[in-house]
Symmetry: C2
């Protein structure tokens, strides 16, 4: 069976561990019965671990209850950059292995319910753990928005990024993020309401900056370049500029200039929201790259 799931950008500033947005880069996984475990990978992450330690293999073996599987992974999602590559891979691998609830599998394996929810459902989502299960709601997203993503050529593991965060925060900071998240949701639903302040955050972004000191300047460059707002993408180091589609290439140019000025190697992607989420193809006839 073949399954495809989109990349995602989680947190979106104030929506720490809650919000995520599906983006139109994809990972595709094929799982078929075989006489022994075979793992093949192409694209992003190709050849990193083509054996039973590959996340897709771990998920598929767990779901299928056997390791007699031929697993093929093709990915367009940069790894360990804050674009939800492992959540998307887990969702797609679970579905390709026949899971009835790929989101539940992915959320339990990956631990990031927000990214997994966006990859499973598409669009702008919020994920919450309710009585031990992931509850997902889709939230309105203005179709006129585009997303300019600065992807530095440096990996930042989510666990290391999380260790940078304090265990306790001021009650005022918690309330600050609530108010900013409300502004952000209103602005993502209707881009005319989107203010740069809507992505302000006091729970994680500033604490992550020491791991990637160029981040504040790059975030600012996205807004001065024409983005309506900017924020870290997940645990970083990727940075997201939220802009009108018509401004995307102007913002892209500004981001490239800022990367060069900061002497940070990396690339800038102009992405759009994915609204389909997980697609499962029982015939295996639809190809990932056919859509692009």
């Amino acid at each position: 069976m073949r399954a495809r799931a989109p990349a995602s950008s989680a947190n979106l500033g104030p929506g720490f561990d809650t919000l995520a947005l599906a983006l139109d880069r994809y990972v595709e996984v094929d799982v078929e019965p075989a006489s022994r475990l075979i793992v093949r990978s192409e694209g992003e992450g190709a050849g990193v671990a083509d054996d039973s330690s590959h996340l897709a293999a771990r998920v598929a073996i767990d779901v299928a209850g056997t390791d007699r599987l031929a697993i093929s992974v093709r990915s367009q999602i940069p790894l360990a950059r804050g674009l939800g590559s492992s959540a998307a891979l887990a969702v797609a691998a679970a579905a390709a292995a026949g899971a009835t609830d790929p989101l539940a599998v992915a959320a339990s394996v990956d631990g990031h319910a927000d990214n997994a929810a966006a990859s499973a459902v598409g669009g702008l989502v919020a994920a919450a753990w309710v009585r031990g299960a992931v509850r997902v709601v889709r939230l309105p997203l203005d179709v006129g928005l585009a997303f300019v993503v600065i992807v530095p050529e440096v990996a930042l593991s989510t666990s290391r990024a999380r260790q940078a965060l304090p265990a306790a925060v001021g009650r005022d900071s918690a309330a600050f993020n609530l108010s900013r998240m409300a502004l952000l949701l209103a602005g993502l639903a209707d881009s005319r309401l989107l203010l740069p302040e809507a992505t302000e955050d006091r729970l994680h972004q500033d604490y992550r900056s020491p791991l990637f000191p160029a981040a504040p300047k790059l975030l600012a460059s996205l807004v001065t370049g024409g983005a309506l707002a900017s924020c870290w993408s997940g645990a970083g180091p990727s940075l997201l500029g939220i802009c009108l589609g018509i401004d995307a290439h102007r913002v892209e140019d500004a981001a490239n200039a800022a990367l060069a000025e900061a002497d940070v190697p990396g690339q800038v992607l102009v992405l759009h929201a994915d609204h389909d989420g997980l697609i499962v193809d029982r015939d295996g006839s639809a190809g990932l790259y056919d859509d692009h």
Copy 2:
């Protein structure tokens, strides 16, 4: 000049210091030039302080720049119960005294931007302080919802209620509230998505319970009585049941039974969202009680 503003219920569980909902109980304020300060009050809070210490007088004098005013206040909003009486009064008094931005006046006087925003704008709102000013967004609200409010016959001052709250909270609690607020906003926009867990909160409600020990049982009674979810209204002690309009009287009966069983004196109100917010009537011809 005459102005009318609705009551409001703030916080709504997870939306601490951010969300508020305008409800169809009103305060109406008339302000007219006079040879000396005259303050009259009717209804809720009548005669409590009919002099320059009355909140309406303080606001109107500040806005008008003179105390040569005849100020008349008629209120349907119980005082110090968590229904935004002072924010509504400040909004209406500021408008009746000719303020160009009654919300800004009320938010600075009362300090509760969330309540003031709901009273000024109506409906479901989020308020955020952005660069020293209150920024308000309206959020979608399902018209099929009604609000059953348990109003105990005991005042709870907001400042005392706030002293019960801790200065610091776990980062997990902050994230918990973000995820619950997202569920809540989805459920308030479409009541079919509203879960009881959407009003769960880890920032303020549990800390307030010692000030009103019957609260947890009363909150539960609203849900077992048919409400989709329940929460404290502002700083309490009023408690809000969010229900379908068709279930409101069933929930009301359950709330009355629970009040009796808990031996808590009080009343139960069945309210609806106000969608108009502040109404200013330059002729002073429209009466508050005409609408009801």
